[in-house]
Amino acid sequence: MISRRDLIKSLATIPVLGAFAYGVFKTRRVVQNKQYILLNELNLDSAIPELYSDANKDQKIRIGLLGYGIRGRQLMRAAGFAHPLWIDEHINAARENPRDTRYQDFLDQEDLNIEITGICDIFDVHATEAMEAAANESKSGSAVKQDNFPKRYKTYIELIQAPDIDAVIIATPDHWHAPMAIEAAKHGKHVYCEKPMTWTVEKTYELRKVVKENNIVFQLGHQGRQTESYIKAKEAIKKGVLGKINLVEVCTNRNDPNGAWVYPIHEKASPETIDWKQFIGQAPYHEFSLERFFRWRCWWDYSTGLTGDLLTHEYDAINQIMGIGIPESVVASGGIYFYKDGRTVPDVQNTIMEFPDQDLTLLYSASLSSNRNRGKVIMGHDGNMELGQQLVIYADSASTRFKEYIENGVIDPNNPIYSYFPGQKHFDAITSPTEKYFAGRGLLYSYRDGKRVDTTHLHIREWIQSIRLNKQPSCDIDQGFEEAISAHMATKALREGKRVYWDYAKEQIVS
């Protein structure tokens, strides 16, 4: 029998739910109201970049690899070919540390339906390793016996001329990028070329000419083109969220010998195992040197220094996001302040690029002996943007556009008004403290369609698909031309110690 007393005591706590619901409703309405106002104001949609088309994927593309050094290996893995010993090592690494998912990530990487039919490396050990990696289509460890090794070519010219090669990946020292790319283009072979695009100004014009004349598909190796947050940043800037942008600051900070290009010297390297003459190429003659062979980035003779190796990535990111093109003028200075190991390229460098027609300055600042993380910052009158794997936008406290919102509390200049994290399903106009914190630390992976992926893999994939669809990819020869000329201006300004200008009409660098 249920008494009145039972009923009251049974239902006594229900009013708490009413209070709860009212509380949630009220706080939610405040937040939603702010979010609604901001969404309308910022006018950014939450679309996430989609993977490129799968069309014509059944067409197998036959690739020749030029250069199997540090970057060559990374590119080969990004294309789906790992050396059996790498597989062994990373199976063990995953066994010892379940957090190390590099092996699984590699297995999960999409099959691009390509074949490595030729390789060329002038160091015998690297050449053999490249063949072993290229034959490892089954992604097995060293226990599985491989056959089907690709042919090793002794010179890049023979590889390029081979009839069973449709396209080449160039991952050689800087001074070889353009001569190889030009030769490939002349033979109608498609090119994926590592950055920087060229080592001399003259080759920049020539490469652009032959790529266009021969209608090949050219992709320059700035994999940052695939970074989700850059794509979102471009959208935000296009919609004017930052207002008039006047200053962009980009940086390089590294602090270890590897980051400063002091790469290990292979024990089997010698004049017998290295084709030194071919290494030198168009560079000034120097007697055989293991240091110069393995650490070539440290010498102007083969390298383009901080400018070509690292400024180009930063410049290309901003060129991708803002379409800045070639600067009107560049000044640069720097020095060898930490790595006094006989190198000729600076380890500290500052470069200022002026774009007066866009009322904009780009500042690049680099140190190879400090890990202080300075990020990429794009500064505008109404807001500023911090860019990495994640993207965070703050309103400026003195913004004209957001003045009213700041006054009535919709916008707090100390908190982001917009944040974007790779893999996030929906974007967030009002960031919680947690997300702000995550943003500050950076996120662990790059995402595409909710999947963890390597941007280099996506960049190669875009190139391969562009070949199948006969179109130009995102970092095409025109983007590459702007990258190369901007970098050459910086190098010239640095080495000659004077301001250099770009003559837009004549397309020439002038002092």
Partner: protein, 155 residues
């Protein structure tokens, strides 16, 4: 169990407060469709960190965990506030909180990406909430004040 009125009052209040906390955590996640436990799991530390991190490798498992969290928190919250299936709700609450504690044990030597209010030595708010629920488990009040009273009468 015979409890004094004041004991019933404070035990019930404690139950409602903890229920409120659970319900809010659940509702907030329901209202934010982008919420995922991914970041929290990846930030796991301590003895069981590898296990919690391994849960993120499979997207089906991750989606299940998200679902259990969102609806578990909400239903436990409702159960505690309303006094419905109180002992079961209490037990589920203890289980969920224990998983949070195991994935994020409190120690000054462990640093988490998620903001913490300073550092704790073993005892943190999660542990106190677990033990508060254990108290509620041994001193159940659902059949005194709550829907369980009605449910037991109807049986």
């Amino acid at each position: 169990m015979n409890l004094r009125n004041s004991q019933v009052f404070f035990l019930t209040t404690l139950r409602i407060l903890i229920g409120w906390h659970f319900l809010y955590e659940g509702i907030v996640k329901i209202m934010n469709p982008g919420w995922s436990s991914l970041g929290y799991l990846l930030d796991s530390k301590g003895l069981f960190a590898n296990f919690f991190i391994s849960l993120t490798y499979n997207s089906t498992i991750l989606q299940t965990i998200d679902f259990i969290n969102i609806w578990g928190l909400t239903l436990i919250g409702l159960g505690l506030i309303l006094g419905a299936f109180t002992r079961f709700s209490t037990l589920c609450g203890i289980l969920l909180l224990s998983l949070y504690y195991l994935s994020h044990p409190a120690s000054p030597s462990l640093e988490y990406m998620l903001p913490q209010e300073g550092s704790y030595l073993i005892v943190n708010k999660t542990l106190i909430e677990i033990f508060s629920l254990l108290v509620l488990f041994v001193f159940p009040t659902g059949k005194i004040v709550g829907l369980d009273r009605l449910i037991s009468k109807l049986k």
